[in-house]
């Protein structure tokens, strides 16, 4: 009798463990969301006037203000937000490596990038456009670039879209950065600079009388908020905050504040989100 008692106890224990294991196996086990952190580190541009520019020991620009607004909407106090400068090339790596929690840095959403990064937003849809000298008489549409020199920043394919994509016979000049492109334009080494209109507007705002837009937008560049891949919760919080930013008029004020001095046609209604799934 005692023996039988001994054998039933482990059996009972095994059955209990089985039931508990079955019960517990449906629990979730995902990476913690960016939202759960006590602080948030946000990557912004440091060399892009009007968007993200390092000056006086801090950062300033449209992207920087958007970053602060979003962080607040996500539940972070201003003092818990840390901004760090990132270059275009290192944005993915810094998110994947966990060095930054979020990136707001003229970061275009593309299907390729979406395989590595989850995008909130876009918070603005920029369009590719062309900047020429204010006194340039011959260039009024993209087709007038035939036979002219068009500058693009290294690693960009903006100008190639004009030559290859639209089949226009322009010469492409690669400069180390868009700042150099603007210098070249001013020195008359090139006739036009082509990239996102918001980036061009940032340069133009520094010297509104020197250049003008051709105003022939032909692609959509969706500026997204880069987040760790799969962080759906943070992505939905970002989208909610962007919605609020347009509804309470902040987005319109920021766009006017940073780019209002240019003749860029600013869109002040909420963009179409990419989706977090």
């Amino acid at each position: 009798m005692r023996n039988r008692h001994r054998t039933t106890t482990p059996l009972l224990a095994a059955a209990a463990a089985g039931v508990l294991a079955l019960a517990a196996c449906s629990g979730p086990g995902e990476e913690p969301s960016v939202l759960e952190g006590d602080t948030i580190t946000i990557g912004v541009k440091f060399d892009q006037p009007g968007l993200g520019l390092a000056e006086n020991g801090g950062f300033s620009g449209f992207d920087v203000d958007v970053a602060h607004y979003l962080a607040e909407g996500m539940g972070f106090e201003r003092e818990d937000v840390e901004l760090v400068g990132v270059t275009s090339a290192e944005r993915e790596d810094k998110i994947i490596g966990g060095e930054v929690d979020m990136v707001v840095a003229t970061y275009s959403i593309t299907p390729e990038r979406k395989t590595e990064v989850t995008f909130g937003g876009p918070y603005y849809v920029a369009k590719q456009d062309i900047l020429v000298r204010a006194d340039e008489a011959g260039i009024d549409t993209v087709r007038d670039l035939e036979g002219h020199d068009v500058c693009q920043g290294e690693g960009s394919n903006s100008a190639s879209r004009i030559t290859d994509g639209l089949g226009i016979g322009a010469t492409v000049a690669d400069a180390p950065s868009y700042s150099s492109c603007i210098e070249w334009l001013s020195d008359e080494r090139v006739d036009a600079v082509s990239t996102d209109d918001l980036i061009l507007a940032g340069f133009l705002a520094e010297d509104p009388s020197a250049y003008r837009f051709v105003n022939n937008p032909f692609t959509d560049e969706k500026y997204g908020v880069g987040l760790p891949h799969g962080d759906v919760e943070a992505c939905e919080a970002v989208n909610k905050a962007i919605n609020g930013m347009y509804q309470d008029g902040t987005a319109g004020e920021l766009l006017e504040g940073w780019f209002g001095s240019t003749d860029l046609e600013l869109v002040k209604s909420v963009p179409q989100f990419e989706g977090c799934g």
């Binding site: 079955l22 299907p111 390729e112 395989t115 639209l166 032909f218 959509d220 919605n243 209604s269 799934g277």
Partner: protein
């Protein structure tokens, strides 16, 4: 067994201290067999009751989750997703009517386009009502619903004027009156920069609501499962302990009713855990393979509707033709993405996908050992193609991809005609693509609708299966609990009777 138990023989302690006496008396009473029997019975009833309560509340939670996903938020999210499609279609029909000009017989004709417009307008209203109900209490989204409602009115004024001006000018096909074009651009711009983004975001937001509900429910059920498992093990333990006590105390080998009660408790516990796990799996499948896939495909239908309307915009607005051609490519890439810098390259890539499916280009290793820089086949259709699909779904997706390739072929032909300067042939080709019966675009949407229906059926099957495995327990749990309690009583009663 005829004498009273030995513990009761020992009298209360004769200690003289006044306040120790009652405590000692209590201790003595607790040592009597009838008291112990009552206490063990109480413990068993409480443990079984705990199991019943935790199982009942977890089953309720699971049923609620199933109800919300299957009959409330789920279908509403699907309806909201259709708002975007309805808006895209309204602007597409308007563009077609403008392009037709005085020739009302082009394609499936002006009257059919106007009917379709009215249908889409009605569908948009219906979807807005659903969206309003789903987003109730969410002020940010409520404002967006209202903005879309107001915006549709403004859109209709713009394009109504455009059509009127174009009719008054008697514009021939493809030569839209200048003022009419200006009004249409305003309307279409409002639609694309304001209304459609908000509508799309509403759809995404309803997906987010469904996801949050689903995950909250899943977490609550997971916690409930641990409680059910724990209280089941406890109840079985108490009943087994009871059995051991009776065996030692009354020298009986076993009490049949108590063994039955123990077994019934174990069966109840395992049964509830298995049912909850099963219904949780059914619910997740219904959401992921049913609803999520159906919504992704419905977005693929909506974006493609907007994309094919870019063909009409390309033809009716020569000044912005480059832009409309570029935007066509961008929307196409959202539907099915392959790396391509221009349309000509894209046509070839799409043909390759349609041909190689169910294998997808770009998802394998490169032969030459170089690092694979091809991101693969992406976009709405690409993502769905990567998911686990039922055989019927895989076959239908193959048809969708073939139809999509045919649509791109027709696009190439249409643009070639335009480049050759044969505008009227290009306009004919465009209107044939949009033909409501046998156009290339109709072929694509028909195939896509079949696939959406298959995923919709999978959604419903998952919900039904989950509900079925839960519904049994609505009566089985109370009945089982009563049975266990009766068995406990049957096991204890004869023993207690010995002390009467």
């Amino acid at each position: 067994m005829t004498t009273t138990a030995s513990t009761s023989v020992r009298g209360p302690s004769s200690s003289s201290s006044g306040d120790e006496r009652p405590r000692a008396r209590l201790r003595a009473r607790l040592r009597t067999t009838p008291t112990r029997l009552w206490l063990l019975t109480l413990a068993a009833v409480v443990a079984v009751g705990g199991l019943a309560v935790s199982a009942g509340s977890t089953l309720d939670r699971a049923r609620d989750g199933m109800e919300v996903l299957g009959h409330d938020a789920g279908p509403q999210a699907m309806a909201t997703t259709e708002l975007y499609l309805a808006l895209a279609d309204m602007d597409a029909q308007t563009a077609d009517v403008l392009l037709m000009g005085t020739d009302h017989e082009l394609g499936s004709g002006r009257e059919a386009a106007e009917e379709r417009y009215a249908e889409s307008r009605a569908r948009a209203n219906e979807a807005l009502l659903q969206a309003a109900s789903l987003t109730e209490g969410d002020t940010v989204e409520e404002v967006n619903v209202q903005a879309v409602l107001d915006g549709i009115g403004e859109y209709e004024r713009s394009v109504g004027e455009a059509l009127l001006l174009n009719d008054e000018a008697g514009a021939p096909p493809g030569e839209v009156d200048e003022d009419a074009l200006e009004r249409y651009r305003e309307g279409s711009r409002l639609m694309h920069t304001d209304l459609m983004p908000k509508a799309f975001n509403l759809g995404l937001d309803s997906s987010a609501i469904v996801r949050a509900n689903h995950e909250d429910g899943r977490d609550a059920v997971a916690l409930g499962l641990v409680l059910v498992g724990g209280s089941g093990v406890l109840a079985v333990g108490v009943l087994a302990g009871f059995q051991l006590y009776l065996r030692g105390r009354f020298r009986r080998r076993f009490s049949a009713p108590l063994i039955a009660a123990t077994a019934a408790t174990a069966v109840l516990t395992v049964g509830v855990v298995v049912a909850l796990n099963g219904s949780g799996g059914d619910q997740s499948r219904a959401k992921e393979e049913g609803l999520d896939a159906a919504m992704a495909l419905s977005r693929a239908a909506a974006v493609a509707t907007d994309m094919q309307a870019d063909q009409s915009r390309f033809l009716l607005d020569p000044e912005h033709a480059d832009h409309h051609r570029q935007v066509y490519l961008e929307r196409a890439q959202a539907v099915l993405f392959r790396p391509a810098s221009d349309l000509d390259e894209y046509y070839g890539q799409v043909a390759e996908v349609a041909e190689s499916y169910p294998d997808l280009p770009g998802s394998g290793e490169r032969d030459d050992g170089e690092e694979d820089t091809d991101p693969g086949t992406l976009g709405y259709l690409g993502e769905v193609a990567r998911e686990a699909l039922l055989p019927a779904e895989r076959e239908t997706l193959g048809e969708v991809l073939t139809a999509y390739d045919a649509l791109q072929d027709a696009d190439r032909d249409m643009r070639a005609l335009d480049e050759d300067g044969d505008r009227s042939a290009a306009i004919d080709a465009r209107m044939d693509i949009a033909h409501h019966e046998d156009g290339a675009f109709t072929g694509y949407t028909d195939a896509l609708d079949r696939l959406i229906d298959l995923h919709g059926a999978q959604f419903e099957a998952g919900i039904e299966g989950g509900e079925r495995s839960l519904s049994v327990w609505a009566w089985l749990l109370p009945a089982g609990t009563v049975l266990v309690l009766v068995l406990i009583a049957a096991g204890v009663r004869p023993r207690l009777a010995e002390y009467r």
